[in-house]
């Protein structure tokens, strides 16, 4: 029965991960500007992808696979924010201004 628990847990993680990923995609479509979209992509995306890899780790029942899956999760968590940062920075430096709803823009002020 213990095996069954693993399977249920893994399946749930999988569906959750997939759902988060889809939400991230929806967020990227729905949110108003690059910076807000980035919140969705980096957080929900990383969590979604990470959860799916965790599901693999749980379901595989093979230590080697699990270790690799966890290393994969760590890698996703390592790279996602860096990529987001680089993209956000590049966009801002080249003139991508936040949407008009944005209440404060300290970078713009510091440059003035």
């Amino acid at each position: 029965m213990l095996e069954g628990v693993e399977l249920y847990l893994g399946g749930t993680l999988l569906v959750l991960g997939a759902a988060f990923t889809l939400l991230a995609a929806i967020g990227v479509v729905r949110l108003p500007d690059l910076y807000t979209r980035m919140h969705a992509a980096s957080k929900a995306g990383a969590v979604g992808g990470g959860l799916i890899l965790l599901a693999v780790a749980v379901l595989s029942q093979d230590a080697a696979v699990s270790v690799r899956a966890i290393i994969g999760v760590m890698f996703v968590l390592l790279t996602t924010p860096v990529a987001a940062h680089l993209l956000a920075r590049a966009s801002y430096l080249t003139g991508y201004r936040p949407c008009n709803d944005t209440v404060i823009d300290d970078i713009a002020q510091s440059n003035e």
Partner: protein, 141 residues
């Protein structure tokens, strides 16, 4: 791309990619992977490294001219094919040696060296292309 965050993390990312690439190469005979994919990942890591640290730093780290690595790969692959000349078999007939290290057995085979050759070629070539596209200086080519 000269940001603290990228510069700090890039070496770590690159190291992981390199390790992963060798792993993928060696595993290829039995699982998805192999020299080509391994070489591709390794070259990708060089590209990341190049973007983070600059081309000349990468070249210094590599020590060898990337295209020489590629040439070495072809020579290695060719030699692994020529090895069968010694056994009276046609070109590229595989030869398997099982080296015993205590409890573990390391299978050494000409296909393995062949795959390593593939790795070197892909890694060397793509690194050379990536670095030369990045580079502005003559001596880097």
């Amino acid at each position: 791309m000269n940001t603290v965050i990228f510069r700090t993390l890039a070496p770590l990312i690159v190291a992981i990619m390199l390790v992963f690439s060798v792993y993928v190469t060696l595993r290829g005979h039995n699982e998805p992977g192999g020299g080509f994919i391994g070489g591709l990942i390794a070259a990708a890591s060089i590209a990341v490294f190049g973007m983070a640290a600059g081309v000349s730093a990468v070249r210094r780290s590599l020590r060898f001219d990337p295209m020489a690595i590629a040439g070495f790969g072809v020579v290695l692959a060719g030699l692994s094919g020529l090895a069968s000349l010694l056994t009276g078999s046609p070109f590229m007939t595989s030869i398997w040696l099982y080296l015993e290290f205590g409890p573990s057995i390391i299978p050494l085979s000409t296909p393995l060296f062949f795959d390593l050759g593939v790795f070197c070629v892909v890694f060397g070539t793509l690194s050379a292309i990536a670095l030369s596209l990045e580079s502005d200086r003559e001596e880097d080519l």
